[in-house]
């Protein structure tokens, strides 16, 4: 009996040795929400668009999920079932630690902007997926992938507000966006999310209120997926 325990202990410690032998290092992943060259700030900061329109941003949140690192187009590291809510009002949410193997070589990062359809139908979840985060539709099930709210004089709405709640997981209006961004600085990944690029791609006079799944949400989600890039050092 005693020898059995001893064997078990030895076996267990061998296991842990193997675990520690595979040294992991943290790769930090930073998201830098910007408006053009300026760091994006909420509420009071006023920005000017390319067509000289004054604009304010009041809410910016979005989900990123299933982060993977690629080398020559092949996945070399993956964080499965990982869901992160990026919320500019919560600075901590802008930085993630990726537990990657030491000396991992990669030349691109891949991620989903939004929540996949399987997760959308899996019931209540906690953490970043908890419905209290304000990123879940209550009148028709589904996560809001991207929430961008602000004000612009071009919007002839109450308080000149524009409201984009973009999501949808059901065919043919699955708004999930899979993006791949080439990376040069691999020790610390720094991604820009340029809201100016998104705003410039739409006419706020006619398109200022999208809050349900459909064609418009698909179009805008696609526009949104193009505003991620590596920060130029």
């Amino acid at each position: 009996m005693k020898s059995g325990i001893a064997v078990f202990v030895v076996f267990f410690s061998m296991n842990t040795c193997v675990l520690f032998a595979q040294t992991t290092s943290n790769t930090t992943l930073n998201f830098n929400p910007k408006f053009g060259n300026a760091d994006l700030q909420l509420n009071d900061a006023v920005y000017t668009t390319k067509i000289n329109d004054s604009i304010w941003i009041d809410v910016f949140k979005c989900y990123v999920s299933n982060i993977a690192l690629l080398q020559n187009g092949k996945v070399v590291w993956q964080k499965k079932n990982s869901f992160h809510l990026i919320n500019i009002a919560n600075q901590q949410s802008l930085q993630l630690m990726l537990q990657t193997p030491a000396a991992l070589a990669f030349d691109a990062i891949q991620l989903n902007v939004g929540i996949d359809s399987t997760t959308n139908v899996a019931g209540a979840m906690g953490g970043d997926l908890d419905p209290t985060n304000g990123m879940y539709w209550t009148w028709q099930s589904g996560y809001i992938n991207i929430k961008l709210e602000g004000r612009s004089n071009k919007c002839l709405t109450r308080n000149n507000a524009f409201t984009f709640h973009l999501g949808g997981y059901q065919f043919p209006y699955n708004a999930l966006q899979k993006i791949t961004i080439p990376i040069q600085q691999i020790k610390k990944i720094n991604l820009v999310i340029d809201i100016q690029k998104f705003i410039s791609s739409i006419d706020l006079t006619t398109q200022n209120q999208i809050m349900s799944p459909g064609k418009s949400a698909m179009f805008l989600s696609n526009q949104f997926s193009t505003i991620f890039s590596e920060l130029k050092q």
């Binding site: 009996m1 959308n120 139908v121 899996a122 019931g123 209540a124 979840m125 906690g126 997926l129 908890d130 419905p131 209290t132 304000g134 879940y136 209550t138 009148w139 028709q140 099930s141 589904g142 059901q170 209006y173 459909g214």
Partner: protein, 339 residues
């Protein structure tokens, strides 16, 4: 020897755990397997008790006046008697008839139009709808944090007194999952423990011929969305499932409801337009309105004499499960919510 006894006691422990979990939810003999994935929300007595407390507590509504049970009353088979449309805070009236809550573990889409995709997420709709409970989820949580009883109940259920949206929703789902009705006279007849009267027997034959393709046994629903030929109400302008899918082919389609405990769940239809079962039978036999999306199963007229309609109703009354209606485990919790 010692080893054997340890293994044996472990086995007993695992077995008893398994038995006690399965006792909280049993698939009735001959029924299909439930659709709900219990592995993501394993039942426990403590979680069910928490869900039950929440279900009966008006704290979920904005002005603390309306609970889930306000519109889903156990004595009406968890539906709402005498209200065609749901009745919310400040006497607001919704757009649809509160459905009976029963055998929800077998149901995969919720609301009359299937807008909700999971039982866990269902309670978010009435809690936040301005015409129902009109409250915000984070407000509910901050009220529960301040209440005397809830941090304790959440701790008992989840070994964590921090109240989260996930735990709140899952606990309410747990209570609803226990609402299984499978002890009606019909069930006894199927188990060869009782016999139908001649009238009920005739009604059952007619039911199988005319109604069973949508209201399929043993759950008495095929869980599909169908247009059952009701003319549209010009004020409500409710096109049903089309609003969810955006497909014109889903125009005027609504969820096929279960018929279990139908004796108690009046009024009937998505807008509660029929107060009596005889009105429902009259609709199906006399006033089906043809349209592009009318159910395939209603293309041929249903022909029934008035006696046959009465026989079908006699059969429908055998779907009443009094042990369900008066089950003390489903009623208002005995302990005082606010001592």
């Amino acid at each position: 020897m010692k080893k054997v006894s340890i293994v044996f006691s472990l086995l007993i422990f695992v077995l008893t755990a398994f038995v006690s979990v399965s006792q909280l939810f049993v698939v009735p003999k001959g029924w299909p397997k439930q659709g709900y994935d219990f592995s993501r929300n394993p039942l426990s007595n403590e979680k069910i008790a928490l869900g039950r407390a929440l279900f009966y507590d008006p704290v979920l509504s904005k002005n603390n006046t309306i609970s889930c049970a306000s519109c889903h009353n156990p004595y009406n088979a968890f539906a709402h008697a005498d209200h065609q449309l749901s009745h919310g805070i400040e006497d607001k009236i919704g757009k649809r008839n509160a459905p009976a809550l029963v055998n929800l573990a077998w149901q995969k889409k919720f609301m009359w139009d299937g807008a909700i995709n999971h039982l866990d997420m269902q309670s978010l709709f009435p809690i936040t709808h301005p015409d129902e409970m009109g409250e915000q989820l984070d407000q509910v949580i901050s009220k529960l944090k301040g209440a005397t009883i809830y941090p304790k109940l959440f701790y008992k259920a989840y070994q964590d007194s921090v109240i989260t949206g996930e735990h709140l929703l899952k606990a309410i789902a747990q209570f609803m999952l226990t609402l299984v009705s499978s002890n009606s006279k019909y069930d006894s007849v199927m188990r060869h423990q009782a016999v139908f009267s001649n009238q009920e027997k005739n009604g059952y034959q007619l039911f199988k011929k005319n109604c069973n393709s949508c209201h399929t046994e043993p759950l008495f629903t095929n869980h599909e969305f169908e247009n059952n030929g009701l003319p549209i109400n010009k004020i409500l302008k409710d096109f049903g499932r089309m609003k969810v899918t955006g497909l014109v082919t889903d125009s005027l389609k609504f969820k096929v409801p279960t018929l279990r405990n139908i004796q108690y769940s009046s009024p009937y239809m998505h807008d509660g337009r029929f107060a009596r079962l005889q009105d429902v039978l009259k609709h199906y036999t006399l006033s089906i309105q043809k349209s592009a999306t009318l159910s395939q199963k209603l293309q041929q007229p249903i022909v029934l004499t008035s006696n046959e309609r009465v026989d079908i109703i006699a059969f429908l009354l055998t779907l009443t499960d009094n042990s369900f209606i008066s089950n003390p485990n489903f009623n208002y919790p005995k302990y005082n919510l606010y001592p």
